[in-house]
């Protein structure tokens, strides 16, 4: 194996990074966090800061999209006046 490709993060670091990202995504989607989770984010503010820029910019989970209704399926004749 090419030793230059050795990974740089420990499992614990990876776990923290992942959890921070997930919690930030939840907040972005409007979900609630538990008090422990809020505390977790405060504890790892540095990771939060680095992850914030990596969050997707587009809105996520806005619910079902608007859909048009097709009314023009048949002609109706009106009475000639």
């Amino acid at each position: 194996m090419n030793r230059e490709e050795a990974p740089g993060k420990s499992p614990e670091e990876m776990y923290i990074q992942q959890k921070v990202r997930v919690l930030l995504m939840l907040k972005k989607m409007g979900s609630n966090l538990t008090p422990n989770e809020e505390a977790f984010l405060r504890n790892y503010a540095g990771v939060v800061h680095s992850q914030m820029s990596q969050l997707p910019q587009h809105p996520i989970d806005q619910g079902a999209e608007d859909v048009v209704m097709a009314f023009s399926r048949s002609e109706t004749e009106d009475r000639r006046q």
Binding site: E5, G30, G63, Q81
Partner: protein
């Protein structure tokens, strides 16, 4: 013959009444009468005062000192006399025309155009009286001669006379039939290119009468390329002429797709919209709106009308005094609205439609709600404008008045659903629904009898309303949660009854999977409130939500992961979720390409693993890391194959600094045997096996 014998019968009756034999001195006069027409003889006998100069009269002997019985009969007699005089005149005209027709028919075909012109003039004169007109239309040879003269002449005046003749004949069914059988339609269509306005008028009016009353005329006009000649006439300026022309187009295009496409190909939509925008003659606007209504159901014409400014032009006529015009414009706008979601310049129209939501006319309500529903679809500007114009309150009132009229309720609820999401004023709209007492009315729409399109729209609206924290308690208090749960159970049972997989169940045109998704989505947002969360969990919904994680429908997976994520905030619920075996499907969902699904799944796993061992958390982490490889399907496929073939268990995986994959695993369950497998972006891989601390590099 009928009226002639009636006249003669009356004459003999009166002769008996007077009991006056004809005197001898009158006999010589009688000889002179034999050369007169029958009508003249009757006239002379009965009403000598109506004779023209040169005609002699038979007189009855009377005593000037004594009033006659006729005089004594006074008014009724006078009326009868007048009627009979008319009949006599009618007979005159008919006899004259009968004698003249054969000769005139020949003259109309003369080589000398002056002769043809004079003949046409005379025939035109004959059409002025009913009796002679009847004689003309009863002669197929005469009508054919007129048609030929019209289409063959190079003289405009002759053409005008001939067209006028046909126009006169077209007021009776007999005349229409005669024109039709004589090939008059192709000739009249050709006249639509005439430079003479009066010829145009006669031609279009005659064609109009044929289209209205003569069977087979529509097909004949279409075959003669009538549409191609009529559409350019829309550029004329005379309102009455345009009214007839547009009515012709409506008659030809109703129910005939080919005709609609011909109108489109000849620039019809632009010309029709121009008329709507620039004229104010009511009848013209009405006939034009009818053509637009017919064209508005054509998928090809629809965008052309919208692009020509049709929405704005039709919107100009929604507040006038003509009910029929307003209604036609509304129906047309409704038909067009799904193609106009990106149109600009509709502010005025939107405001008028909001005001029309206050109408009691069900047709107006149906159209206004439908148009607003579509125009607010994916259009943030229109949503904001309608919200700021009091649209929320007006739509709530429309929902209340709609009752069981689904054609009003469904679009009204859809419009509210659009207004309450995906635009800057969505929160304003969400609050407005509550402030205008809309929540109970909306919740009621979830009740029986279920009309599924309305139910589907309503659950989507409720989901949006729940986004506003101030709405959570009112929604709960109106009984929304149990209704949603019951609907969800019912819909889910239907999907299960019809089997799983791609087979979908429809009711009223709505898939039950959509109801499952909608109800779960609404409950997801409602679960953001802690009291609502408890109520939802208390209804034994967790097992169902876990089951829904296995759905083949991506959106159902998303909303069920979402609601479980909210419920898992509560420790007890988290344990229940874990007890239902949610971990396995959630682990799978970590790999979903949908960021929302992966996030909710991860969050639930984090929450149910809080009290679990570090091994479990590490496994979650490993699985999460795998989800980072979703952009390297080929590389990950290689890893999977290796793991499978080597009977290994994954113990660690991560992305390398250069973007490749590094995984660590136990081989054959043997802790003393480890493999480190690495693959880079070019799918070059290396494998290091370590057994009993001895390293083998491959």
């Amino acid at each position: 013959h009928v009226y002639t014998s009636a006249i003669l019968g009356t004459v003999s009756y009166w002769a008996c009444w007077f009991n006056t034999p004809l005197s001898l001195h009158l006999c010589s006069d009688m000889e002179a009468q034999y050369s007169l027409t029958r009508a003249q003889r009757v006239r002379a006998a009965m009403f000598p005062e109506t004779l023209v100069e040169g005609e002699t009269a038979l007189t009855a002997h009377s005593n000037p000192d004594q009033p006659t019985n006729v005089q004594r009969l006074a008014e009724p007699s006078q009326l009868l006399k007048t009627a009979i005089v008319h009949l006599i005149n009618y007979q005159d005209d008919a006899e004259l025309a009968t004698r003249a027709v054969p000769e005139l028919t020949k003259l109309l075909a003369d080589e000398d155009q002056v002769v043809v012109n004079k003949a046409a003039l005379i025939v035109n004169q004959l059409t002025r009286k009913e009796a002679s007109r009847r004689v003309l239309m009863q002669s197929p040879q005469m009508v054919s001669a007129v048609v030929r003269a019209m289409q063959n002449t190079g003289d405009l005046e002759t053409a005008r006379c001939a067209a006028s003749v046909l126009h006169s004949l077209s007021h009776q069914r007999e005349g229409l039939l005669a024109i039709f059988k004589s090939g008059g339609i192709p000739a009249l269509v050709r006249m639509l290119s005439s430079p003479m306005e009066s010829v145009l008028f006669y031609a279009i009016t005659t064609l109009h009468n044929l289209l209205l009353h003569q069977e087979g005329a529509k097909m004949a006009v279409r075959l003669a390329d009538g549409l191609q000649r009529m559409v350019p006439l829309l550029k004329k300026t005379n309102p009455k002429f345009l009214a007839i022309t547009t009515d012709c187009l409506q008659l030809l295009s109703y129910g005939n797709q080919e005709s609609k496409l011909i109108i489109l190909a000849n620039g019809g939509p632009e010309s029709l919209v121009f008329i709507m925008r620039n004229h104010n003659y009511e009848k013209l606007l009405w006939t034009t709106s009818r053509v637009l209504k017919v064209l508005s159901v054509c998928p090809s014409n629809k965008p052309a009308i919208v692009d020509a400014g049709g929405m704005q032009a039709l919107g100009q006529h929604l507040t006038g005094s003509s009910q029929r015009l307003t209604q036609n414009c509304l129906w047309t706008l409704r038909n067009l609205s799904d193609a106009a979601t990106k149109q600009e310049g509709l502010d005025g129209l939107l405001q008028i439609l909001v005001s029309q939501l206050g109408s009691d006319d069900v047709n107006m309500l149906t159209c206004a709600t439908g148009i607003l529903s579509n125009l607010t679809c994916n259009n943030a500007r229109n949503k904001a404008l309608v919200t700021q114009s009091g649209g929320v309150e007006a739509l709530i009132h429309a929902v209340l008045r709609a009752g069981e009229k689904e054609d009003v309720a469904e679009p009204a609820v859809c419009a509210l659903r659009h207004l309450t999401s995906r635009h800057p004023d969505a929160e304003l709209a969400q609050n407005a629904v509550r402030l205008h007492y809309g929540i109970p009315a909306i919740t009621k729409l979830l009740g029986q009898p279920h009309y599924w399109p309305v139910v589907k729209a309503t659950v989507g609206l409720i989901r949006n309303l729940a986004l506003c924290p101030a709405n959570q308690a009112p929604l709960r208090e109106s009984g929304t949660i149990p209704r949603l749960v019951n609907l969800l159970l019912k819909a889910h049972q239907e999907t299960q009854r019809h089997g799983s997989g791609a087979q979908q169940t429809y009711q009223d045109g709505v898939r039950m999977e959509e109801i499952v998704e909608g109800c779960t989505g609404a409950l997801h947002i409602l679960a953001r409130d802690p009291i609502n969360r408890g109520e939802i969990a208390s209804m034994q919904t967790i097992p169902l939500f876990v089951q829904l994680l296995y759905s083949y429908v991506e959106n159902i997976k998303r909303v069920s992961a979402g609601v479980l994520c909210e419920l898992a905030l509560d420790k007890q619920c988290a344990e229940m979720i874990d007890a239902e075996g949610a971990s396995a499907p959630l682990m799978e969902l970590l790999h979903s390409p949908n960021e929302g699904i992966a996030t909710y799944a991860a969050a639930v796993l984090f929450r149910i693993s809080e009290d679990k061992s570090s091994d479990y958390r590490k496994r979650v982490s490993v699985e999460l890391t795998h989800s980072l490889f979703k952009h390297d399907p080929a590389a990950w496929e290689m890893v999977n194959i290796f793991i499978q073939e080597s009977h290994s268990t994954l113990t660690d995986s991560r992305r390398t600094r250069k973007g490749g994959i590094y995984v660590q695993m136990k081989v054959n369950g043997d802790h003393s045997s480890q493999a480190r497998f690495s693959v880079n972006n070019n799918l070059n891989f290396s494998l290091i096996l370590t057994q009993n601390f001895r390293r083998l590099e491959i």
